[in-house]
Symmetry: C2
Subunit: 218 residues, 2 copies
């Protein structure tokens, strides 16, 4: 029997990869040249491959992938629609920041899930090359025009704030999933709230480190 | 030695698949449900795979793929930007109509190109399942609301007109490519013009048949 938390986890991961594919493909459209367009296209195709793997895993566990994804559509769409990149650099930063926080989050909880699922999660979250690509392009752009960094720093703060706020909403509506990362289970509401704050702090530190790599204030 | 016409052909095909990938991924965003979104995503990923194959073939022939694609960026972007689908159905019809005309066009000229390239072209143009998918969804929509058909018929005519006009522009600037489909080679300008009209007529007949399948006036 797979736990409801594990199904939730796979559901949010599957939908996350599906929208990551859409987002990266849309970024490809903004690419300043053909080589960058092709590079983003390859990453988008890899993300679609990840979606297919998670979806197949859900089916193997006897669960309808679309049903498992459904509860996470609204918060993820909300996140993506409220923060649509206005240009190529904002798209790259969004992918870099979003993937970074997502990876940290899954690492936090992977100790608490079944081995097979944990292995799949880490396989699917393996960087498709996007982080280094984004870092390089953003650094180049800042070197060419240092004024860019103020706008991107602000964009990074908005992304982080919106992710935390949507993740908190998701946690509130999915108690099984929440228990997965707010250990110890059966703890009272006050302990859970403290755990949540502590986890958000850890995620914020990770985010700040990634912004540092770009020379951007977080 | 690969002929300039063959390099042109591979260049326009590679760029065509790259923008088809972007277009299908954008259509996935408009999908009314998760199953349709996933189906379009799979087609987009397949189209990106086609792009990679053509690109690799160009490299194998000793040509820079990006350089071969360059001359076709503007006309193809022009076509896609001037006819951006406003909704899911317009996106499906655009893919169906566009792929149909493209396939007819490549079939017209495949007899005149090297076997290896011709094989690749027909492999890459194999339908990724989009035609039947589009036909089904469009027919369902028209059955539910017959008024839809007037708007879609008009959209189909605009797509056909714009494709012909962009293709004529391309032919005018790429004499090597033009010679490939305006046989007999070495014919004078008047003969070429006649050949062009004859070919456009054949493409128009193919287009009309595809619109018929949907019950749409062409």
């Amino acid at each position: 029997m797979t736990s409801p938390a594990e199904i939730d986890l796979l559901g949010v991961l599957a939908y996350g990869e599906l929208v990551a594919f859409e987002r990266t493909a849309a970024d490809a459209k903004l690419a300043p040249n053909l080589a960058d367009k092709a590079a983003l296209g390859a990453m988008a195709a890899a993300e679609f491959g990840h979606y297919e793997k998670v979806s197949a895993h859900l089916a193997k566990l006897g669960h309808d992938p679309f049903q498992a994804m459904q509860p996470f559509m609204e918060p993820l769409n909300q996140f993506h629609n409220s923060l649509t990149p206005r240009d190529w650099l904002e798209g790259l930063l969004k992918a870099y920041v979003g993937d970074g926080i997502t990876n940290d989050f899954y690492r936090e909880i992977s100790a608490h899930i079944a081995t097979e699922t944990a292995n799949l999660v880490s396989e699917v979250l393996a960087d498709v090359g996007q982080a280094n690509f984004s870092i390089e392009r953003i650094r180049q752009a800042i070197a060419l025009d240092p004024k860019v960094s103020g706008r991107l720093a602000l964009w990074g703060r908005r992304l982080m704030g919106e992710m935390i706020s949507q993740a908190t909403l998701v946690a509130a509506t999915r108690p099984a999933l929440q228990e997965l990362f707010l250990r110890p289970s059966g703890s009272d509401a006050a302990t859970s709230a403290t755990e949540l704050v502590v986890m958000i702090n850890r995620l914020t530190v990770g985010h700040a480190k990634r912004m540092d790599v770009l020379g951007l204030a977080s």
